[in-house]
């Protein structure tokens, strides 16, 4: 019917005779040696989901300990290991792998490619990341043993020197931290290089950079940012190991070394890192919101420009984590300004999303609900970020529960919400089955209620002077009731996540069959079967606009007539 040579999708024949079906061992072997981007994407996502549950359990233990003052559930040493592992796990073994897992699965499909640019490097990167995680958690088995939480790192996820030097951290806890992250860092670097090469060099015919889906655009930007984000941390960790094992003096204050350069290097990594975590969340929202309000994204070029702006400006704000270390007033003022400025392109994105909703026909599927939650939370998180950028106020709020509230608003309220949204949205594509919508809505509402109970309250704890990283607190400081409330919210979130985990697993067998395009969407991944064949597309697609499937469905009103 159409003049467009779009690939014909193709129902995969699922009925193989028993004699030809592979054994369990053969199936496992296939998964271990796979270089297929879809399988690696699924491996990343399963890996992250596992660690989400582990780090979530760590968080619940933290909240049980803090529910009452002078509680004795966890000793100081155990608590310090738990909060360090919670942070390190969530950033490196949950956040990054989830988002790179999504990238792995979806980017080649969205650009009409057969696989990533370097499939074997892809597999190698995954296994490096996986090994890094394994190494980090192996630390639980050392030292005083499992119940004393072994040799797990206990220096905070930010591992400030000189606390991490041999003089103050004897034993191997810090070494596990540094080595595990160096190894998984190389994996991350490999994936970033792969994504960049794939997006630049493997787009199908007609897909110029300005016709790529925004998900792919943002993952390209994230990958470029990753190149200069993870590497400073790797460098600093090498320096730490040189200090710890080769007698180096990078951070050795006794020899004239400086704690401050660790802090600078860490945050030169640490700040762009949070953009590495949040930009893929934007990427997911950029795909889901238009589909469920039945309108193209408002202001595509502006969204691209704003994202590129964020990438650059985010490299100049790191010292807003350091307002209290004693920089000059001029430096503090500079970083205040740059931090406020990075809020401008970020705000533009929020406005564009609202403009997308405006005039649409909004369908409140679970994926969409999580995206709406993301919008609301990210607005608040951005505003508390502005509050923290006001350096004098940060002199009060830094290292208090206000900061914890702020960054959990971003990392849970925005990033995790978008991860959930992405899972509900693309699960049908990857498995051929829809997740259960009723359970999804239970998950959403319980999680949102628990989230607000916990993290709204935390802001007040910070304002009332409660610092972070403390295993207990004095009963006469007025923090008792609020801490209990925060802990209760945590439990509610835990229940919600369990509902999600059940839905995630059960739907694989009992979910409604999805078909190629259950959401009536417009990008290339929905033109192929669910799940896609291993080669993705029978013929290389050729596209002429940002929404090739829209063009196919609306030949009388194609996008390319309107796109500038």
């Amino acid at each position: 019917m159409s003049d467009y040579p779009l690939p014909v999708s193709h129902v995969i024949d699922q009925s193989t005779p028993a004699s030809e079906r592979s054994t369990l061992l053969e199936k496992l072997h296939e998964w271990v040696v796979t270089v297929d981007h879809k399988r690696l994407g699924i491996l990343y996502i399963l890996y992250s989901t596992f660690f989400l549950l582990v780090a979530g359990a760590e968080a619940l233990m933290i909240r049980v300990q803090l529910a009452y003052p002078h509680n004795h559930v966890l000793s100081a040493q155990v608590y310090n290991r738990f909060f360090t592992m919670h942070g390190t796990t969530m950033v490196f073994l949950v956040g990054m792998p989830f988002l790179f897992g999504f990238a792995n699965y979806i980017v080649p499909l969205q650009i009409g490619a057969r696989d990533m640019a370097f499939p074997r490097v892809n597999a190698f990167s995954f296994w490096l990341t996986a090994f890094g995680g394994f190494l980090l958690y192996y630390s639980f088995l050392g030292g005083a043993g499992l119940y004393g939480v072994g040799n797990a790192p206990d220096v905070g996820w930010f591992a400030y020197a000189p606390l991490t030097l041999r003089a103050f951290s004897p034993g191997h806890a810090t070494d596990y931290w540094a080595l595990a992250l160096i190894v998984s860092g190389f994996g991350t670097l490999g994936t970033a290089i792969n994504i960049i090469a794939t997006v630049i060099s493997m787009r199908c015919k007609g897909m110029t950079l300005m016709r790529m889906p925004l998900f792919t655009w943002l993952l390209l930007i994230v990958s470029m940012l990753t190149l200069v984000t993870i590497t400073p941390l790797t460098a600093a960790q090498f320096m730490l190991l040189i200090d710890r094992y080769l007698g180096g003096h990078f951070f050795d204050t006794q020899a004239g070394g400086s704690s401050l350069i660790w802090i600078h290097f860490f945050w030169i990594f640490g700040h762009p890192e949070v953009y590495v975590l949040v930009l893929p969340a934007f990427a997911i929202a950029n795909e889901i919101i238009p589909v469920f309000c039945r309108k193209a994204i408002f202001g595509y070029p502006a969204m691209v420009a704003a994202s590129v702006c964020i990438m650059f400006v985010s490299l100049s704000v790191w010292a807003h984590h350091m307002f209290t270390v004693g920089m000059t007033s001029v430096s503090n003022a500079f970083f205040t300004l740059s931090t406020m400025l990075v809020g401008v392109p970020t705000g533009i994105k929020i406005f564009n999303w609202i403009a997308t909703l405006w005039g649409g026909r909004i369908r409140f599927t679970t994926a969409m609900l999580f995206c709406i939650g993301f919008l609301f939370h990210f607005l608040i998180a951005g505003l508390t970020g502005i509050m923290l950028s006001v350096s004098p106020w940060d002199w009060q709020l830094h290292n208090s529960y206000f900061v914890i509230a702020h960054f959990h608003y971003v990392l849970v309220g925005a990033v995790v919400f978008c991860i959930f949204a992405g899972i509900y949205y693309w699960y049908p594509k990857a498995t051929g089955r829809l997740m259960n919508e009723t359970l999804g809505k239970w998950h959403f509402w319980l999680f949102t209620i628990g989230f607000h109970i916990t993290f709204d309250t935390m802001h007040f704890l910070g304002l009332l002077g409660m610092p972070r990283s403390i295993y207990t607190y004095q009963p006469d400081r007025g923090w008792n009731f609020l801490n209990l409330v925060v802990s209760v919210g945590g439990l509610i979130q835990g229940i919600a996540v369990l509902i999600f985990a059940y839905n995630f697993i059960a739907s694989y067998w009992s979910g409604e069959v999805a078909g190629d395009d259950p959401w009536d969407a417009w990008t290339l991944e929905w033109t192929t079967s669910s799940p896609p064949p291993v080669y993705n597309f029978e013929e290389e697609p050729e596209v002429h606009s940002r929404r090739p499937l829209w063009d196919l469905k609306h030949p009388d009103d194609p996008d390319w007539e309107y796109e500038s």
Partner: protein, 198 residues
């Protein structure tokens, strides 16, 4: 069949995208540059701050020969690139060999320099801030030279077996790109350590 004409500007578009291997290597170079930058920043930050021990001015000699060799190797590898593009494999092998030889001279220069520093001047990585930052930075660079030599030597051996021709010219170009990066880093390290820092 739609009766509305569905023609649009670029029906049979020329579709050329950059070579994926070059893009990948460029991305790797960007990442590695960030690592080097951090080590250079540490070196610069700690210039003059050592509390004891030998200073750069006291013990460092400008490695002129080694530097000339390494920078010349960029020229020889460029000649090798040109040769393989034109399918002149004999010439390619010679230029590649020259590159490897020059790199080897550079590494030997570094080795002798470090021997002198360690045994004669008593400067090790744990001596003072200068020692720590010097060996880390120069050592990181030398490691990259070693990796590069491995790539070059493998190609050289394959070429001796007659298994290399112009069909691999793009891939060799990627190796050459890495090599040029290694040289560029040396220019920065040389300037910071041996010119400014002394």
């Amino acid at each position: 069949m739609s009766s509305i004409p569905v023609s649009h500007p670029e029906r049979t578009v020329e579709w050329h995208l950059p070579n994926k291997r070059r893009v990948g290597m460029t991305a790797l170079i960007v990442g590695e540059s960030a690592i080097f930058t951090i080590f250079v920043v540490a070196y610069v930050f700690y210039m003059g701050k050592s509390l004891s021990g030998p200073t750069p001015a006291q013990v460092l000699e400008v490695p002129i020969l080694a530097t000339i060799c390494l920078l010349s190797s960029s020229i020889t590898i460029w000649r090798a690139e040109k040769a393989i593009e034109d399918d002149r494999i004999g010439s390619f092998t010679v230029w590649l060999g020259a590159t490897i030889a020059l790199a080897a001279v550079f590494l030997m220069g570094t080795a002798f320099e470090w021997k002198k520093l360690i045994y004669q001047d008593g400067l090790t990585i744990s001596t003072n801030l200068f020692g720590t930052t010097f060996y880390s930075l120069v050592g990181l660079h030398a490691t990259h030279v070693v990796v590069g030599m491995f790539l070059l030597t493998s190609t050289f051996v394959l070429s001796l077996f007659g298994w290399v021709d112009s069909r691999q010219s793009e891939r060799f170009g990627v190796v050459a790109l890495y090599w040029h990066f290694v040289d560029a880093v040396w220019i920065v390290v040389f300037t910071v350590v041996y010119l400014i820092g002394r």
